[in-house]
């Protein structure tokens, strides 16, 4: 069976990891190790790297079960096949709602990039708002493309983009 690796985001609370390990066991995965990347916390979540052995059918079943449980998979690797989902956070300031927030979201989204999280702080219709956006992309190139698109939209709509510093 090929070596497999999943990097997922788990909420930092008791019982979360047990659910994941149960999914791996149920699909005949042979667990090697579990590492919590606490230094790379994402909001209230912690990236967790799980290494195990599984055949192709079992790996696909594990992936499907995780998605069904709404578990975010950052990176997956089965044998030599590897796919990474990268995320980057932003706060956008200005009249984000008035300048058509739906259009802003759609303009950065495509088959490999999407807005994964959105939080809005707004005082009144007249006041500028603050919007937290998390961009998720399949790989570095897609993420860079998404960031460029967001930057362009913010310039066109006179919004201030406050990006996350690069942490890797």
């Amino acid at each position: 069976m090929p070596d497999c690796e999943l990097t997922i985001e788990l909420e930092d609370k008791p019982g979360e990891l047990a659910k994941i390990l149960e999914i791996i066991a149920k699909n005949n995965g042979n667990l090697f190790s579990v590492s919590h990347l606490r230094e790379k916390e994402i909001g209230k979540n912690i990236p967790v790297v799980i290494k195990f052995q599984s055949d192709e059918k079992g790996f696909k079943a594990i992936e499907a079960d995780l998605i069904a449980q709404k578990i975010k998979i950052i990176k997956k690797k089965s044998g030599d096949d590897e796919e990474t989902n990268l995320v980057l956070d932003f706060i956008i300031l200005g009249h984000v709602i008035d300048t058509n927030i739906k259009d802003t979201i759609y303009s950065v989204s495509d088959s490999s990039t999407m807005v994964r999280r959105l939080n809005i702080a707004i005082r009144s219709i007249e006041d500028p708002s603050a919007v937290f956006i998390q961009l998720s992309a399949k790989g570095r190139d897609a993420l860079e493309k998404g960031v460029k698109k967001l930057k362009k939209v913010c310039m066109e709509k006179n919004l201030l983009m406050v990006p996350q510093i690069a942490t890797d």
């Binding site: 500028p128 937290f132 406050v162």
Partner: protein
């Protein structure tokens, strides 16, 4: 014992602070380095203190502390300004610590040029002067076979350039990012942890002496940009001037933005960055607990290098006392290397 004659140009917070530390560390400098630093001139706008046998620094510092004019002191020469001193007084090293204009770089730029043309090494804390004509000033120093050092001009007490040149020699520096302005960091910290608005935090910073009466250089990102120009030229060898820096300040950052960042485990910081040949300054989200997530008026800079990987330095970016650490570091280095 080696006696080195100095001229101090500018006797404000930094100039008088330099004199203060010089007096306090006189014995230390003699014992540790075998050098005696003798200040033969202090240049001000309307005149200068000049004495080839050494100025009475204690009296000058007392006058400054008591807000009395230096013109009451016996060594005062009215009408002899800083430039005149450089032409007429024999000095080994000039300590240039005047405040200059960001657009023209003067009066500091002219003073540094005059000092070099008259054969003196220069130590400067004047970021506007150095940033305004980095290649020109360095070329002149090189042609004259003199040293021009300016560690205090970008990062205050933090040894950024000397760290790279003297301790990380084998490394190629790939990028730099960090907080280079204590005033904005103080304001953003107060917004995040004290729930203040930007204006209230700014007023408090002014009351505590962190921010100038006109704080636009700080909050508009201009101060950080000037420091980045120096670091880009010195560390990265980039021919960048102030106009090349993409600048965004913190004036649009409000309580909502700070609160939203905090909810998602970030602090908002004014971050200067040099990466892939580009120089920029603007507000960024820094994960809480990250090495650059420092509070209050602290500065922090992270270098990404090929061998040592990430190196972070945290310290005081300004201050009459703290800045002397960098000025004396440059001074001692010049004396050891070039005042044989």
């Amino acid at each position: 014992m080696k006696t080195i004659d100095l001229a101090i140009l500018g006797f404000g917070v930094i100039g008088s602070g330099f004199s203060d530390v010089l007096l306090k560390k006189e014995r230390f400098l003699e014992d540790r380095f075998g050098i005696k630093l003798r200040v033969v001139a202090i240049g001000e706008y309307s005149g200068s203190l000049i004495n080839p046998d050494g100025i009475d620094l204690k009296s000058a510092i007392e006058a400054k502390k008591n807000k009395k004019p230096l013109s009451e002191l016996p060594d005062w020469k009215s009408g002899v300004d800083s430039k005149e001193i450089l032409k007429t007084t024999n000095t080994d090293i000039v300590v240039e610590v005047v405040p200059s204009n960001i657009n023209t770089g003067n009066p500091g730029k002219d003073l540094i040029r005059t000092a070099l043309e008259n054969g003196a090494h220069v130590v400067s804390s004047d970021k506007c002067a150095i940033a305004s004509d980095f290649p020109g000033l360095k070329d002149l120093a090189s042609k004259k076979g003199l040293e021009l050092k300016y560690e205090a001009s970008a990062g205050g007490a933090m040894p950024l350039m000397n760290l790279i040149h003297d301790c990380l020699q084998i490394n190629e520096v790939e990028s730099l990012e960090g907080i280079l302005n204590g005033t904005t960091n103080y304001i953003l910290t107060k917004m995040q942890k004290g729930g203040m608005t930007l204006n209230t935090a700014l007023r408090e910073a002014q009351e505590l002496g962190y921010a100038e009466a006109d704080p636009t250089y700080d909050i508009d990102g201009v101060d950080t940009a000037a420091k980045l120009v120096i670091l880009a030229n010195d560390i990265f060898g980039l021919k960048k001037s102030f106009e090349d820096v993409d600048i965004t300040g913190i004036t649009q950052i409000n309580k909502d933005a700070v609160g939203l960042a905090k909810t998602n485990k970030y602090s908002i910081k004014l971050i200067g960055e040099i990466k892939e040949g580009e120089v920029s300054v603007g507000p960024k989200l820094v994960p809480i607990g990250h090495p650059l997530d420092v509070d209050g008026s602290l500065n922090a800079v992270m270098f990404e290098t090929d061998i040592a990987r990430d190196v972070t330095i945290i310290g005081r970016g300004a201050g009459g006392l703290e800045t002397q650490s960098a000025i004396f570091s440059d001074l001692i280095s010049i004396i050891n290397d070039s005042c044989g």
